[in-house]
């Protein structure tokens, strides 16, 4: 019995619709699970893979390991009580949830947020972007067997978390962007300390570029891996760096400006090749743009001013009937909250659109076919997905 067909174009045979004929009983395929504990899947989800040799033939993604039912929980909580919940929807980037939820409530309730609070929110979102990119970069490097840059970027992330700690009182779950504004003003000397961290980041990112992006092994493994055709962007709902790496400059900060982004000077970073290398490089350059944006924000932010709009009594807060969709550009693309109020104290429906839902499920299943098993983790991290936001 022949276990291996040398001419790969003949095996496995295809069905009429182009899909592979896979017979697990033939002993020519291996059925393995990658995840939910595998670090390469960036969280609690799993890939059910069928491989032939070391090549992936078929992939089915599985979620459900992290379902906490946030959307349903919110329907039984007052608006203010949803505020500590939403940040937990996406662990590495709580602030986009806080912002979208707050902005949705403000829009439905007709609350005008003070100028200073808008600046602080912009700052917090960019800091979150920075922290998230830095952590992700460690994962991306690690999934390619590259431990060192991950150590560097993760300690830089810790420095950002230190700044979050002194600004918001929390390192991971900040619970800082409240409907109406933010919970407190910047602490004394905060700007200076943040600027020092930015300098560190810029310095280390040069090393990261040298060690990781100018590394021949890294290039060999990532160039040509998981190419996203630009024509898929719309039907698959691909957003953020994954779309920008394909040459399509999608960026909510530009396309549908919010907060203080219209007053900031930046251009979305795009790439051409649309492979894993380009996506990683687009994110690296986007990270540097974020550093620049934070400097601009600190420069332009007014020193004084109210940071919180007067709210009605939050324990009795009824939000007028209505619905809205609020979106923001997170590190992975478009983050959105669809909110419906029936005029009561409790949200009727909150639906969270996390970009990972499209990227980690449909897109991953498509891209992974034909990829070497060793590169599956690299492909996954190149899509930058966070399973918690898939399961709300």
């Amino acid at each position: 019995m022949k276990y291996f067909e040398e001419d790969r174009s003949k095996f496995p045979p295809k069905n009429a619709d182009g899909s592979f004929q896979i017979d697990l009983e033939s002993h020519k395929f291996t059925h393995i699970w990658q995840g939910p504990q595998h670090p390469g899947v960036t969280g609690n989800m799993s890939l059910e893979l069928i491989i032939q040799g070391d090549e992936v033939m078929q992939c089915e993604t599985h979620v459900g390991y992290l379902h906490r039912g946030f959307e349903k929980l919110m329907e039984r909580r007052k608006y203010i009580q949803c505020f500590p919940l939403v940040c937990r929807i996406c662990v590495p980037e709580p602030d986009f949830n806080e912002y979208c939820f707050a902005a949705g409530v403000e829009e439905l309730a007709g609350i005008e947020v003070p100028e200073k609070a808008l600046w602080i929110r912009t700052l917090v979102l960019e800091m979150a972007r920075l922290a998230s990119y830095l952590m992700w970069m460690g994962g991306a490097a690690g999934s390619l067997g590259h431990g060192l840059p991950g150590q560097w970027t993760n300690y830089l992330r810790d420095y950002i978390l230190d700044r979050f700690e002194e600004l918001t009182g929390g390192r991971i779950y900040h619970m800082y962007i409240l409907p109406g504004g933010v919970r407190n003003d910047l602490p004394e000397g905060f700007k200076q300390r943040l600027l020092e961290v930015l300098d560190d980041i810029e310095q280390i990112m040069k090393d990261v570029k040298t060690v990781m992006f100018n590394n021949t092994v890294f290039k060999k493994r990532t160039q040509g891996l998981g190419i996203i055709d630009p024509s898929w962007v719309e039907p698959y709902g691909i957003t953020g760096p994954n779309a920008r790496a394909a040459g399509i400059p999608l960026d909510v900060r530009k396309d549908s400006p919010y907060l203080k982004y219209p007053e900031l000077d930046f251009e979305p970073v795009t790439g051409q090749e649309s492979d894993a290398y380009t996506r990683l490089d687009v994110r690296r350059r986007d990270l540097l743009i974020t550093v620049d944006l934070i400097r601009q924000i600190l420069n332009k932010m007014p020193e004084n001013g109210e940071y919180m709009a007067p709210l009605p009594n939050v324990l009795n807060w009824e939000i007028p009937r209505g619905e809205t969709y609020v979106r923001a550009e997170c590190t992975r693309g478009e983050y959105g909250y669809y909110m419906v109020s029936d005029g009561s104290m409790y949200p009727r429906r909150v639906n969270v659109r996390g970009p990972s839902y499209t990227h980690a499920v449909a897109l991953m299943e498509k891209l992974v076919v034909g990829v070497n098993i060793a590169d599956v983790a690299a492909l996954m991290t190149s899509l930058h997905t966070y399973p918690p936001e898939i399961e709300r």
Binding site: Y173, N184, T210, N316
Partner: protein
């Protein structure tokens, strides 16, 4: 493949000569000053309002009794217990804390083998972080509940002094909704209200725009919403949890709002009707707040209730004591009419003891409830105070309500610092304005302004109306020349009460004043007239050393058929009178039904 792509990564080796950035002693790392760490609670400042428990979305907070903390007015006696198995460290409990007692330290390490210890009462259980000065505290000027009350529109002094128009205009719907929104429903007020009214519940009914429900809640404990919505001494507001940081919720005005919005003819459809007739009969002496309140609740139970009232109209002090600019008679009538509507009979101009004897009432009725009030003025007994031009405030107020002429010759001196003194001074001020076009009234009292028993707004408004107030002086002598009154000599009062808190004024005789006056009105307190109780009955009744009737917690005297309540037992206060009328009614109902 470029050769540089192979060589460049080797530059990472330069880090070998750099210092490590790892924290050497992570266990002793100090968190940021704003860090949301373990909770602290100042048990003395905390009032156990439970808003922390209400806002906690994890149900991590329970309000529990704590040893050494007593329940008292404005303090539930409970304190928050936090379950760190549930807490998510959001700090909303700190943000909403009405007193600011609950804060967070910046401590974040607590290691123990026993999972039970992580449910603890901050402040009551000693912890190393109790003394930490850093940690999350609610920032200044940041609040999750509005602290400023909706201002109440009032007639301006120039307009209101022209007549007896009601001063307070009442809330509009928008204003009432906005004010009702401020309530955090802690319920601290309920315990302090003598009638234990369902305050958070009726405020919630306002928020829900369900005023019929609000009305039902009001009548559960108080059949005088129009009266109490205007002249209640609002003890509830003095303990309102919001008062610790801002203005208390305008509970009194919100009550008035509910009653004002519902026309009289709709009451019957909204409120409960009396139960089936029981055939039992109760006589009530005095149609004041206590008597009418007892009558209302007894009638609801199906008993036959007859009130005997000496004056031409029902209302007692609410009508014959409180001036119309504070409580318009039509509003009082609205409350009384509904009590009559459910079948309470009121026999006016029937003075018990003169027109009908107590013995005959005892014969004809199963139970008697006496709430005859304090209608006798007390004299200062200062030298010369028996002069015919020295009057008693209660008498003048009563005569004025009846439409009789009352003396007003300027200048007038009112002696007394309570609300009755303010009532007569302000009534006379209006008369002065109508008759003379100017106000010439001086009010003097023993107490200094900070301890004057009158409501603050009464003092402010009296001054706005042109009344001169000289606090801190006691009457020494009424100076007269035959029938003509010359004035009042006063002496500075050094202290009103002795160290035991008893009324025992001390004077500084080196500091005296002479105030010219044509008439003097004494308003230093009222006494009761119990002459309608025959000596034979009085002898059987238990009284204290000063001859006051002794009652139990249900206002029952030592004679099982005789109940007494209202001002004669509790002292002058409308809401106390209404409350004890209700309490007595409950007990009387039990007795009439043969229950224990």
């Amino acid at each position: 493949m470029k050769i540089s792509d192979i060589l460049q990564p080797l530059t990472a080796w330069k880090n070998l000569v750099k210092d490590p950035i790892t924290i050497k002693d992570p266990l002793n790392r100090v968190a940021a000053p704003r860090y949301r760490g373990f909770h602290k609670n100042d048990l003395e400042t905390c009032i156990g309002c439970g808003t922390c428990e209400a806002i906690c979305q994890n149900a991590a907070i329970d309000m529990v009794p704590v040893e050494g903390i007593e329940t008292k007015d404005g303090d539930s006696g409970l304190r928050p217990r936090i379950d760190y198995g549930r807490c998510c460290w959001c700090g909303l409990c700190v943000d909403i804390c009405t007193t600011g007692s609950l804060t967070m330290s910046n401590a974040y390490q607590w290691i123990d083998n026993d999972p039970e210890v992580f449910r603890f009462i901050p402040g009551a259980e000693e912890k190393p972080w109790d003394t930490a000065d850093k940690g999350y505290k609610r920032p200044e000027n940041y609040t999750l509940n509005p602290l400023k009350r909706v201002s109440m529109e009032e007639l301006n002094p120039a307009d209101r002094i022209q007549g007896f128009m009601e001063i307070v205009k009442g809330f509009s719907r928008d204003q009432a909704l906005q004010e009702a929104d401020r309530c955090v429903s802690c319920g601290i007020c309920v315990a302090t209200c003598p009638a234990h009214m369902g305050i958070p519940a009726y405020i919630e009914a306002i928020r829900n725009d369900d005023l019929n429900q609000g009305m039902r809640i009001l009548y559960e404990t108080n059949p005088f919403p129009e009266v109490c919505g205007r002249v209640c001494t609002h003890k509830c507001e003095t303990v309102c949890s919001i008062f610790h940081r801002g203005d208390p919720v305008s509970i009194r005005w919100l009550k008035r709002y509910i009653a004002d919005q519902i026309p009289e003819h709709e009451y019957a459809a909204i409120l409960d009707s009396p139960q089936e007739e029981t055939g039992k009969k109760v006589a009530i002496i005095g149609a004041g707040p206590a008597g009418l309140s007892a009558a209302y609740y007894l009638r609801l139970q199906g008993h036959t209730v007859v009130i005997f009232e000496a004056q031409p109209e029902a209302g007692g002090m609410m009508r014959y004591g409180i001036p119309e600019y504070r409580l318009p008679y039509d509003q009082l009538d609205k409350d009384i009419k509904y009590i009559k509507h459910i079948g309470v009979k009121i026999r006016t101009e029937t003075r018990v003891g003169r027109d009908i004897s107590l013995e005959s009432l005892h014969k004809d009725f199963d139970i008697i409830y006496a709430a005859t009030g304090l209608h006798e003025g007390r004299s200062t007994r200062a030298k010369g105070s028996d002069h015919p031009k020295v009057y008693q405030a209660v008498n003048l107020l009563r005569d004025f309500t009846k439409g009789l002429e009352i003396p007003y010759e300027a200048p007038v001196i009112v002696i007394g610092g309570g609300n009755v003194a303010m009532d007569i001074a302000r009534t006379l001020a209006r008369l002065h304005m109508q008759k003379m076009g100017r106000v010439d009234i001086t009010l003097t009292c023993l107490e200094t302004e900070d301890i004057m028993p009158a409501d603050r707004e009464e003092i402010v408004e009296a001054r706005e109306e042109g009344i001169q107030i000289i606090p801190g002086y006691g009457p020494l002598e009424v100076v007269s020349n035959g029938d003509t009154l010359k004035g009042l000599k006063t002496v500075r009062c050094v202290s009103v009460f002795d160290e035991n808190g008893r009324f025992n004024p001390k004077f500084d005789h080196s500091d005296t004043q002479f105030l010219p006056a044509s008439i003097i009105v004494e308003a230093i307190g009222q006494g009761m007239d119990l002459s309608y109780i025959p000596e034979s009955i009085k002898k059987e009744m238990k009284t204290d050393a000063r001859g006051r009737i002794q009652v139990d917690a249900y206002y029952q005297t030592s004679l099982p058929w005789f109940f007494a309540g209202g001002d004669i037992i509790e002292g002058p206060d409308v809401i106390h009178a209404i409350a004890n009328g209700h309490t007595a009614a409950k007990r009387i109902d039990h007795i009439l039904r043969g229950e224990q």
